[in-house]
Amino acid sequence: MNAQSPILPEDLSQLSDGELKRLELKIARKHSGMVPWDAVIWAFANMAVWLSLWPLVFSGLLPLWIAFPIATINMALVYLPTHEAQHDIIARPGTKLRWLNELVGHATSWMLIFPFEVLRITHLDHHRHTNDPELDVDITTKAPGPWSAIWYAIKNRQPNAKRNHDYAASIMRAGRTDLILLSLAYKIGFIAILGTLAWNGYALEALLLWWLPYQIAITYIVFFLSWAPHHPSNEQGRYRNSRAWKSKVGNWGSMWMQFHIVHHLHPYIPLTRTPAAFWEMKPILEARGCELGEL
């Protein structure tokens, strides 16, 4: 895994900043530009499985206690295809498959009770201002350790949490105040659906197929996609605002986030290509003084 990339020379210590940058870009380009069909299939298959749980449970074909963990996994898997679409990785503006990029984004983000454009604007803002105490919309996930990270993820979903205000501020900075109303409509719509189900005798189904899986999944997503790859979130430089680290739950368990530093440096690389790009780029990242954990 640590074999030197064929693109890289043996000794990087003599290379200038510009030469290192060129080599890094060359590797990044090698791992980008393709349509990540795995993310597209992932998005729609995941949604189809989750939607199918409802009639299966309502008709009594699937017990709720089996459907609940499946729904939780579904919820945890929603975000990453949406994330690919936020970065235009599936198809860039003006290309033939652009509609697919937008379809993946819109068709999946509603499961997380967010309009796609809100996720896109706020996430791109996170990339622009990573670890900035004032402007990074995800700075509230900064926590001293894993247990406090989980606790903060829960606290950040409270009605008056700073994170809500940070997201609203990011949308306002983008001049999209219309999205604040749309976000409210999503939240009210979510409660209306839950309430309709609940007052018609399906409260536990609504609780265990959507509300609780959503809460567990958001905590998991925030932990692995926001806290862990930026911890300790103290630095803002291009090569220091994110890190690589070895996850105890492995690559799949951490949803490829061990290699999140590659995503921050080159956000157009498809998620599942980031490990390969990382291993090829590793000597450059070491030369740049990146935090690479035990990888």
């Binding site: 009605p159 109303l181 409210l184 007052w199 609780l207």
Partner: protein, 64 residues
Amino acid sequence: MERALKLVAASLPLVFAFAFLVPVIDQGMRALGLGAPFGLSTLTFALIVGGAWGLFAQVTGRWI
């Protein structure tokens, strides 16, 4: 429409409590075979607990 949305949004914790939390407590207790104290029905108990919790969230801005 915008005004209505803002009005509901301002009282979202209370709306959530009565729309969802109350029936969850009620149906949850019945599913677990739990009876409500003081001879109350599970729905009345759920309205008291869920309503109070929603009011707490509405006033303090946090559920926990």
